[in-house]
Symmetry: C2
Subunit: 208 residues, 2 copies
């Protein structure tokens, strides 16, 4: 669908917007026309926030999370437990886990999971730097928090083997029922795991 | 859902992106993280295209379509039929109708349709300027090309009455079967209209 926009400026903005994931040319045009209807200050704020973010955000040299400095605020926070490191696939997973307020330790962002089909091999990920961190920082526990997919589990196994000779406890996220879901709609694999990994009732709901 | 992004720059970009229509905070975060993974030049191109577009696009003083100059390229095109004006709701409809290559004339962008529920009254739209154009420019035909909705038809009627005393032919887009759709799935109202407004077979498919 080739459309004439009668304006190279609009055309240019639509082209750039449609490079974003999940945004086709129709949506890009809708967004551009929306921006045209708003105040100039709003368009400037949007444009500059994008440029400033990309220009000034770098990656933490320790955990590879996004950061505005050499070391990110999480790694720099002395109140956090620096002996426990949670291994995640990407920056978004750090935000997701942080929102649970259940992980008091630090993070290590792999930058992906091993996926031969997508051409991602272990050397493309921050696995060597994790192994180095475990020995150098004297870590007590590594929590593997990758997605429960084939690629995630492959990566879990790879890291587990890499860390096998080091004196560190390697744990992974529990698999089981999703809270709020009906038992009937839980898949057999997950349900089976939740039976194998059953926990003491009194541990989950302690007596008052 | 309050999430800590560990970066005010990321937070700011997510806030700005989530002001766009149809983009919530989750999608905004996904877009921002995508931009972070790309080259800085791409983020700059995106940001600047938005700012430049908003800063430099204005509205044609004649037809109210977007334009980079006082008069838009369509109004300025001497090869177009300046006696026929197609009345559309918004800028997007100009692009849509242009893509059919079936309208050789000019446009008049209303900027919306009459909709008391949304607080849009005739005075909010470019209707007075249309009436003025019809008399001043000696227009031969006004094609009403608004959407076949209650609001669109209300606006059609309103404009039709406003132009009643002027020597101009007022036409509207044909209503009938959508090409490619099964007859069975056409709604009764549209099917009824397509029977009332039936056309000579030989007019639509002329003999060679």
């Amino acid at each position: 669908m080739i459309q004439s926009f009668n304006s190279s400026l609009l055309e240019n903005a639509v082209n750039e917007l449609s490079k974003l994931p999940g945004i086709g040319r129709k949506t890009a045009l809708r967004l551009a026309l929306h921006i045209l209807r708003r105040d100039e200050s709003e368009a400037t704020a949007l444009g500059e926030s994008i440029i400033n973010m990309r220009r000034n955000i770098c990656y933490c040299s320790r955990c590879h999370n996004i950061s505005e400095h050499e070391i990110c605020p999480i790694c720099n926070d002395s109140r956090r437990d620096a002996t426990t490191v949670c291994v995640v696939e990407n920056v978004k997973d750090v935000i997701t886990i942080e929102s649970t307020h259940q992980h008091p330790g630090l993070y290590h962002v792999l930058g992906g999971v091993i996926s031969p089909l997508d051409g991602v091999s272990p050397s493309d990920l921050e696995i060597e730097s994790l192994v180095k961190r475990v020995s150098e920082e004297n870590l007590q526990e590594v929590i593997l928090a990758l997605s429960p997919t084939i690629e995630g589990d492959t990566t879990n196994f790879y890291i587990y083997r890499k860390l096998a000779d080091l004196p560190v406890r390697v744990t992974m996220l529990a698999r089981g029922l999703s809270i709020g879901n009906e038992l009937e709609y839980t898949d057999e694999l997950t349900l089976g795991k939740s039976i194998q990994n059953r926990v003491l009732f009194s541990d989950t709901f302690p007596k008052k």
